[in-house]
Amino acid sequence: MMGGRRLSLDWIGAVPFLGYVALFLFLPTAIIVAGAFASEGGPTLVNFANLSRPYIVSAVINSVILSAVTAVGGAVLGAILTYAIATGNPRGTFRRMVTSACGVLAQFGGVILAFAFIAAIGPASAVYVYFSQHHLDYYASGVWLYDLRGLELVYLYFQIPLMVLIFLPAVDGIKPQWREATESLGGGTWTYWRYVAGPLLAPAFLGSTLLLFANSLSAYATAAALINQGGPILPLQISNAITSEVGLHEPGFAKAQAVVLIVIVAIVSVLYAVLQRRTARWLQ
């Protein structure tokens, strides 16, 4: 009884929802966290000690490198595309077309994206056949498409549109008057970008890059469809640990890896939120 009011039964209305999320959101989370610190004997850190196995360490490093490369690459190319859109007519059909296309493409991922690239530049594709007939065998040293380098290329396909969607509001916030003001004070294009637009866009750009980093770090389906053997990145290792024999013998191992992944994503998300707040200060 709160504040002397009569006992209310209103809260019963929230029970179905709360019951469901307790079972299918909080319980799995609790299983992961508890399982990561448990073994048959009792509480333990052995699951985390197992993370020092060379193949896990290299998977984490590969994941971070892959995410960093595709985040920076996607951010730079996406920013260029954003600028190309933002300098056009703000009410034009062209802008609407590109932003809608980005909305569709940014969610276009997973298995189908992997197949699209296999069909486009894979060893059986028309493009590859044409190039190899003209003595430009780009798979001469192995089919890199099914490798980390392939992932770097394929991930850009969803990273660039995502960058456009999250960076466009910031670029729209740049007023043409600021450029005119720079010019009337004698500044050229370089001065404008170096001292006016650049510093204003920097927090938004960095924040977007971080979001892209987290996005690529947690991607699983595209990599699983493209890479058949081994597990060069962390999400694939987690999947191996769930399904393989290892998972049955070491049930805490997948959970410890999951904890690592979520800790990295959480750190990146917090940094993103901080930068987002900085951006919001002058945007609008």
């Binding site: 969610q107 296999i118 069909a119």
Partner: protein
């Protein structure tokens, strides 16, 4: 703006759009090309791969299962979420923040992490309750929860839930009538939004199904590719077209009320931002 700078800007825009346009349209065109190839070199275009879809019973079963999962998940999440959100607005305003944070929580947890927690649960359920593939909809409802919540929240914010339901109650309506005949018709476009998002997300889902060893559409696409890449790419194209139709429908629905382009653009943006990671 000087004339030379305008010309430079124009050239920059054209080059950027042509190059990136090729990067984005190329793979989609290639899927069409690949799925209509004949056997052998220089053979004419055929639709054999498309016709062969029906001859793979596992693939058909996967398609049916994914469609069923999409329907069950989207209806299920609406049935749980709509009454809860209305009730919280009317009677439990203190809980609103909590319900919101809980609903948006799955956005921050990658699917590959969630499935680690689901795995022992589904093992237990498989032994003690049911190992039917449709039980996946219980997990999928968590995946679609944030998107459904946002869509519904926008719909409910546009109407005066309290006044409407008090008016209906004072005229003698029961709670069921209030929900079904007063609230639901007023948020119909939000319901459609939430439903379409859920369908699109479930049809593209691979991570959870694959790791829990349930053969849904995407899992079957991957397994058919090992024997006949043409067929699995044909199905991939079909599911892509279907998702595209859903998205066009979505932007159409979203544009109706506000009517202005900004509203629609924002809807597409939040959708994409939220959606990212969902199917990957």
């Amino acid at each position: 703006m000087s004339r030379s700078r305008r010309a430079k800007l124009r050239a920059f825009r054209i080059v950027t759009l042509v190059l990136l346009g090729a990067f984005f349209l190329g793979p989609i065109w290639a899927m069409f090309e690949f799925s209509t190839r004949g056997v052998g070199e220089n053979s004419p275009r055929t639709l054999d791969a498309w016709k062969a879809i029906a001859t793979y019973p596992d693939l058909v079963a996967g398609i049916v299962a994914s469609l069923e999962l999409a329907v069950i998940t989207s209806i299920g999440i609406l049935v749980v979420l709509v009454p809860t959100m209305v009730w919280v607005r009317l009677r439990l305003p203190r809980l609103r923040r909590a319900i919101e944070s809980i609903s948006l929580l799955p956005l921050t947890i990658p699917a590959i992490v969630l499935v680690v927690g689901f795995s022992p649960m589904y093992q237990w359920m498989g032994i003690n309750l049911s190992d039917n593939i449709l039980t996946l909809s219980l997990a999928y409802a968590i995946l679609v929860l944030p998107y459904a919540y946002r869509a519904l929240d926008a719909g409910l914010a546009a109407i005066d839930v309290k006044t409407l339901s008090e008016a209906a109650r004072s005229l003698g309506a029961g709670w069921f009538t209030v929900m079904w005949r007063v609230i639901v018709p007023n948020i119909s476009s939000a319901l459609l939004n939430a439903g379409l998002l859920s369908v699109a997300l479930v049809l593209g889902e691979y991570t959870i199904a694959n790791n829990l060893l349930y053969p849904n559409l995407q899992v079957e696409i991957v397994s058919v590719a090992r024997t006949n890449a043409g067929v699995s790419i044909a199905v991939a194209v079909a599911s892509l077209l279907f998702a595209f139709v859903l998205l066009v429908a979505l932007s159409f629905v979203g544009g109706q009320r506000g009517g202005r382009q900004r509203t629609r653009e924002r809807l597409v943006q939040t959708f994409a931002r939220d959606f990212s990671g969902g199917t990957r």
